[in-house]
């Protein structure tokens, strides 16, 4: 018996790219979220990273970035604000080190890419397509589109689709598009990126927020605004996963404030085929590994033989296959 199933017999495996010949096969549905796990090596001596379903790297950009000035993080009620500023070595620095390292690992490694122009997303995806050790690309569309006056790609269905199409055109790697909760209609964005060739959708990215230092009468973050994460945003994330999962046929990866198995189960029942743990790792590094065993045990106790049986169980729209009914109800407040 392997360590993966030491606490139960249920099948935890999930494929996040069932329509892609290259597949994105996870041995369990627990992933480490981008920006919260470095490049994996930071946690290699802390937890058994090889047991994770997958991990997503810190956001990589076309050029090296030094990141924002300090302070970069501020604690908020049951959560935190961050404005790191995508500090990273750039795609060229990245490919020199990590693909070879990851190729020797059992855990699937997913690269998160961020850019301010469609061509730059495509350039990075093309480079990654030729590299070993990379299981998939996660596209961060929560970036300003320079050619549209800095309007966020992820807030607009067509702009999100344009990025997805450009990346799809240059790589056969599985593509996950990470949606922004700032979109006025996140379901439209999800449907658009699915049509543009995304293999899976992950959500939610952080919500833009801010905190003020009353004594200094200035924003607490050097960047003024930042992304809110942690338990405080979980209900918003569950709602958005529920809506998106009822509207698309590709797998959905949920995230936002997961701190316990019960939290993860809410996302699975809402329609998530996997979850990412982000802020939860900061305060409890052992959490994602513990959740694997807890889920396995829970599935056994509840009489499920496979994890896939619980995905979307609480999602009425998901099961009826009529996402528009749910969207209408949500929009009209009925």
């Amino acid at each position: 018996m392997t360590a993966v199933t030491s606490h139960g017999t249920a099948d935890l495996a999930v494929d996040l790219a069932p329509h892609n010949p290259r597949e994105l096969l996870l041995r369990n549905p627990f992933m480490a979220a981008s920006g919260c796990f470095g490049y994996g090596e930071e946690y290699a001596g802390v937890i058994d990273i090889q047991r994770l379903g997958a991990f997503v790297s810190k956001g990589i950009t076309p050029e090296r970035r030094a990141g924002n000035a300090m302070p970069r993080i501020v604690e908020t009620p049951a959560g935190m604000l961050n404005a790191i500023g995508l500090q990273n070595p750039g795609i060229h620095g990245f490919v020199k080190k990590y693909p070879t390292l990851w190729d020797s690992w059992a855990v699937p490694a997913i690269v998160n890419i961020s850019a301010e122009a469609v061509d730059d997303y495509a350039m990075m995806a093309a480079m990654l397509d030729e590299q070993p050790g990379i299981a998939a690309i996660e596209i961060n569309v929560s970036c300003p589109n320079i050619s549209r006056g800095g309007y966020c790609f992820g807030w607009d269905a067509e702009m999100s689709a344009e990025v997805t199409r450009a990346v799809r055109g240059v790589t056969t790697l599985p593509i996950i598009v990470k949606l922004s909760p700032g979109a006025s209609d996140i379901v439209s964005v999800a449907i658009a990126v699915e049509a543009a060739g995304a293999d899976a959708i992950s959500l939610i990215n952080t919500l833009v927020g801010m905190a003020i230092d009353v004594r200094r009468r200035r924003p607490l973050l050097a960047n003024e605004t930042g992304g809110v994460s942690g338990p405080a945003i979980k209900p918003i994330a569950v709602r958005m996963v529920y809506q998106v999962a009822s509207a698309v046929r590709i797998p959905v990866v949920g995230m936002g404030g997961i701190m316990s198995l019960n939290d993860a189960l809410e996302f699975f029942l809402a329609g998530a085929s996997a979850v990412q743990i982000g802020t939860g790792i900061f305060v409890d590094p052992g959490l994602p590994i513990r959740l694997i065993d807890e889920l396995s045990q829970w599935l056994d106790e509840e009489g499920f033989s496979s994890f896939n049986q619980i995905v979307g169980l609480a999602n009425v729209g998901f099961r009826s296959g009529d996402p528009h009914l749910f969207r209408f109800r949500e929009a009209s407040g009925l």
Binding site: A3, L25, R27, G38, G67, V74, N82, P231
Partner: protein
């Protein structure tokens, strides 16, 4: 055809441990010395300057969410335990300062790098500002045990905020300064530290950022060819403690460096203030 999943390898070893509060002693005004149990393996491999991330909330609560970093004030073998200096300042430290013996704490560590005593250094100068005194107490213990000479300079707002002289072990010269003049030099500790710079083989400092700015002037005025070297411990709010989130960086000549893994101890001349 489905790929076979490679055999899972076990690598990581958790650095988190559950601890019990052993003692709470009031010191330095409104601060406390919090002594907590720790595994012997943790205490044995610990070096002065390292820190622990302490969860400052009740089990099941998510507020305040992030762990708080605390340098070790003193480590003990019998029983195996650690002492932290905690001043109630924000929500996390206020919660921690309110613990009583017998209560449980979730602690992660040891984390970060440590102070280095160069092989030929005999005379060590320490400069402490307020609760920044914590890691220097442990370093002073180590230095005295090795038979080195220590001058310990400390500054605080008033006499009550000073480390009691009885807390320093062995033959240590203890010099103090207070903002209100209630004890020692009336003014900043950095104003008197210059007198000892020529004597010292190595300088160690821990305190608030304004102290480092004035220390820069002292260091530039009294040192020749950047000798003696100055090691400082910086304090940053942080999230992960493992260099993953990059929320606790320090600006250095080499770029933005994570203070949780490549700090908290930095070469003073490398840091940009």
């Amino acid at each position: 055809m489905r790929r076979q999943l490679a055999q899972v390898e076990t690598t990581g070893t958790s650095r988190e441990f559950e601890s019990q509060v052993l003692a709470v002693d009031h010191t330095m005004g409104d601060a406390i010395l919090l002594t907590v149990s720790a595994p012997t393996t943790v205490v044995q491999r610990l070096n002065s300057g390292q820190f622990f991330n302490v969860s400052c909330r009740f089990p099941g609560s998510f507020d305040p969410l992030l762990r708080r970093p605390y340098s070790v004030y003193r480590a003990h073998q019998q029983p195996s335990s650690l002492t932290f200096l905690v001043r109630p300042f924000g929500r996390g430290s206020a919660w921690l300062a309110g613990r009583t013996p017998g209560e449980r704490l979730e602690i992660l560590g040891p984390l970060g790098n440590s102070f280095v005593i160069p092989p030929r250094a005999q005379r060590l100068l320490m400069l402490a500002g307020g609760v920044g005194v914590a890691p220097l107490v442990m370093l002073s213990d180590v230095a005295v045990a090795r038979g080195l000479d220590v001058v310990f300079v400390m500054g605080a707002a008033d006499a009550a905020g000073l480390l009691p002289a009885s807390e320093l072990r062995g033959p240590v010269e203890y010099v103090v300064a207070t903002d209100d003049g209630s004890r020692g030099h009336h003014g900043l500790a950095t104003e008197i530290v210059g007198d000892y710079v020529h004597w010292a083989d190595q300088i160690y400092a821990c305190g608030p950022e304004p102290m480092y700015r004035t220390l820069r002037t002292v260091a530039d005025t009294h040192r020749i060819n950047k000798k003696p070297g100055v090691q400082i411990s910086v304090e940053r709010g942080m999230a992960c403690g493992f260099g993953a989130c990059l929320g606790c960086v320090v600006e250095t000549r080499r770029g933005m460096i994570a203070s949780c893994v490549d700090g908290p101890v930095f070469d003073f001349d490398e840091v940009v203030f």
